[in-house]
């Protein structure tokens, strides 16, 4: 791999960091390599907002090539929302541009005295004054910085007011509305007075065996183009699955408390395609093009919502007004806030208002289900930490705790639950309970496996969507594969056979890995992130689900069902070779994965 550029914002010093060859071999890149690089830094007393806190941007060995769905990068660190391991990946073109600059990563520490942005042109780094864009939204900031730099093809990653104001679910945004939204790393950038990073590179992506890589790349893109999920996502966006998710009872409604919503047919990728869709957008070299371009009544073209935004501001709030969802998603993108967490915490506010836990005195106006008139105001208050927004900005767990109702918050370890209800697809119960960054649907999109996307070449089996402990090993296997995808920063829609992925990795890096080797790399990284979290204070008790998901829904396709989480967890620990009492990876499992070096750290020897 290429070097990582280390930058200290306090001292304005920078240096090249050469990645040790054995770390490349064992972790490949992306979030997995990030976990290895940050292992010794991410300790309990590290303040995520402190100058010493790292902000590590990484690519994978396929990033920026013309392979299948390889336009993403990841940012890693310690989450201010969870105080655990943080990673969030993002599409667009910024990640590949970093590789074109000759770097596979950017490792930022320190804190600038004044707001700045970094300008990296190939290997030439400049620290630039960002006072002119501080306070501006993410769209304006990208535009102003590009105008200032005036070099065609420059890509800008920026935070919005939410990141500047330390909102716990602030993200980083590039290429209009592509976001690294989860775990609050935008707030970490804000605490460093780092407004943005602009890139323009001219170098070639290094490939060990380009003559082998080319034909596999071509075949895999053709394969991907012909895939059914690709066709659905290309035609309908990621929200194309909303109809089927709802049919199986996997779409949360009324903040996870209702199984049926009359207006649900108006809120899906199909409904968008039938009404406001006017185009699509793609990340670097992507044949899927899941991005939506919509036109509202004002005639302006806008980014259309993906699945999570659509459900979060739609059925989750009992709202079926698609144009309003588009506008609410845009407010989040502009202010620089994650739409999952933002819609979740607002759902909690509605829920607590209806329960009488909070009142108009707390909010300033009523929050009655179906009345969406106050939501855009709540988002703006949140981004600026004004009034009730100052409490919403802390995320669901803290918002609930502030009003003595923490257990009403639908979150795991401080990260808000995305919109795939485990009562509809039980595999997501384990996924949410054990994800290394709090409740997350991307560390394993197991809902697709529960729908039937069981890739037998990986050894996956198909279990009934309400099966329990018997699917635990399958979930762990799928997590290992997705952990490998996170090492490559491969988009989850890059649905190509595992053998092709192995071929691409080998041709890019000069390895001779088989699929089983890749799964082992995935398992190693999954285990390492677990070890990081254990050192940060995570215990067996943290592997759980919020109260709402352990209560049966009164109606709908999944009425009466709750996932048997305790039985599933026990089976899960056994399948992983983890101690079922403590939830820690056993010394023998760590040795098996070549990770003897962390045994003492997590077993206090």
């Amino acid at each position: 791999m290429q070097p990582i550029l280390k930058v200290n914002l306090s001292t304005r010093e920078s240096s090249d960091f050469i990645i040790p060859a054995e770390w490349e071999r064992d972790y490949l890149g992306g979030a997995s390599l990030g976990a290895r690089l940050l292992y010794s830094t991410l300790l309990k007393d590290l303040d995520p907002y402190g100058p010493e806190a790292p902000l590590l941007f990484l690519n994978g060995p396929l990033s920026g090539t013309s392979g299948p769905t390889v336009g993403r990068f990841v940012v890693c660190g310690k989450s201010p929302a969870t105080n655990l391991w943080a990673e969030s990946n993002c599409g667009g073109f910024w990640g590949p541009e970093l590789r074109f600059c000759g770097y596979d990563g950017l490792w930022i520490t320190g804190r600038a005295k004044e707001p700045i942005f970094l300008w990296l042109q190939d290997n030439l780094l400049e620290f630039r004054d960002a006072n002119a864009v501080w306070g501006k939204d993410t769209y304006e900031s990208q535009s102003i910085i590009k105008t200032e730099l005036s070099i065609s093809g420059t890509h800008v990653l920026t935070i919005g007011p939410a990141g500047e104001n330390g909102i716990k679910f602030a993200g980083l945004y590039c290429d209009h509305g592509r976001s690294a939204g989860r775990t609050g790393l935008g707030a970490v950038a804000g605490a460093k007075n780092l407004k943005a990073i602009a890139l323009k590179g001219t170098k070639k992506i290094p490939l060990a065996q380009p003559e082998i890589f080319g034909p596999i790349r071509s075949a895999s893109n053709h394969f991907l183009k012909d895939d059914t999920i690709t066709q659905v996502v290309h035609e309908l966006g990621t929200a194309g699955v909303a109809d089927y998710a709802d049919y199986l009872g996997g779409t949360p409604k009324k903040y996870f408390h209702q199984g049926v919503f009359e207006g649900v047919d108006k809120v899906s990728g199909s409904a968008m395609a039938e009404t406001i869709l006017v185009g699509v957008s793609a990340c670097h070299a992507c044949v899927v093009a899941c991005g939506r371009v919509v036109r509202l009544e004002d005639g302006q073209k806008r980014k259309g919502p993906e699945y999570e935004t659509l459900i979060g501001f739609g059925p989750n709030l009992l709202n079926d007004d698609m144009p309003l969802i588009v506008r609410l998603g845009e407010i989040c993108d502009r202010e620089g806030m994650d739409t999952i967490s933002a819609s979740n915490v607002i759902g909690l506010a509605y829920h607590l208002f209806q329960k009488g836990v909070i009142s108009e005195n707390d909010i300033g106006f009523p929050l009655n289900w179906g009345d969406m008139s106050g939501v855009s105001r709540l988002l703006q208050l949140t981004a600026r930490r004004e009034g009730i927004g100052n409490i919403l900005a802390e995320g669901s767990r803290q918002f609930g705790a502030h009003f003595g109702a923490e257990d009403e918050a639908v979150q795991v370890n401080g990260l808000e639950v995305p919109y795939h209800d485990p009562r509809g697809v039980s595999g997501m119960a384990l996924v949410y309970a054990t994800s290394p960054r709090g409740a997350c649907h991307n560390k394993s999109d197991y809902f697709l496996v529960d729908w039937g996307q069981a890739d037998t070449s990986l050894g996956l089996q198909f279990f009934e969507r309400h099966a329990g402990a018997e699917k635990a090993a399958n979930v762990a296997l799928h997590q290992n594969w997705r952990s490998l995808c996170d090492a490559l920063v491969l988009c989850l829609f890059g649905n190509v056979p595992a053998e092709m992925v192995a071929g691409l990795v080998n041709a890019a890096c000069g390895y001779d890995y088989k699929v089983n080797d890749l799964l082992r790399i995935g398992e190693r990284a999954w285990t390492l992130k677990r070890a990081i979290n254990i050192r940060l204070g995570l215990t067996r008790e943290n592997d759980n689900l919020p109260k709402a998901l352990l209560e049966p829904l009164p109606d709908g396709p999944t009425a009466g069902y709750v996932p048997p989480i305790e039985e599933m967890l026990t089976a899960y620990y056994n399948s992983r070779g983890w101690d079922s009492e403590s939830g820690k990876p056993t010394p023998s499992k760590l040795s098996e994965l070549g990770m003897e070096w962390i045994i003492n750290d997590i077993w206090n020897r």
Partner: protein, 136 residues
């Protein structure tokens, strides 16, 4: 009478089933669209087969075994090997799983397909129920 899949008798039996099944009539009452199921040869099936069905508002207006694809393409083209489609008919392979794992390729409007998953699944139920014997 045993109805063996695939055969002209099987297609006729499916036609009859779709026109008499009250559950299908209800669930597919808004469906408008014809389809061709292409069965690729594998195992005991030696030649490619094209089964045409014109489905309309919970009924089947026409079925036909074709020799090739028609000049005017139907709303949907479904393609699977005989091995995979016989597993669907025997209930060994879930139809959504088949679509998600490329064992059943679908070409046509994905918006319409995703909107009408219950109809698609009930169509498969009807097809399974008329199948009493499979070409082995």
């Amino acid at each position: 009478m045993a109805v063996k899949f695939p055969s002209p008798e099987w297609l006729q039996a499916l036609n009859d089933k779709l026109n008499t099944d009250t559950h299908y009539a209800q669930i597919a009452k808004t469906w408008e669209g014809d389809m061709i199921v292409i069965i690729e040869p594998s195992g005991p099936l030696l030649e490619k087969q094209y089964y045409y069905l014109d489905l309309w508002h919970g009924t089947c207006r026409k079925t036909e075994i074709m020799k090739t694809l028609p000049a005017i393409m139907p709303k949907f083209v479904l393609t699977a090997t005989y091995a995979n489609i016989s597993r669907i008919m025997k209930g060994e392979l879930d139809p959504m799983s088949a679509m998600l794992t490329r064992k059943l390729q679908v070409h046509g409007s994905m918006a319409y397909m995703m909107r009408n998953v219950p109809t698609v699944l009930d169509f498969v139920r009807c097809a399974r129920e008329v199948t009493t014997e499979i070409l082995e």
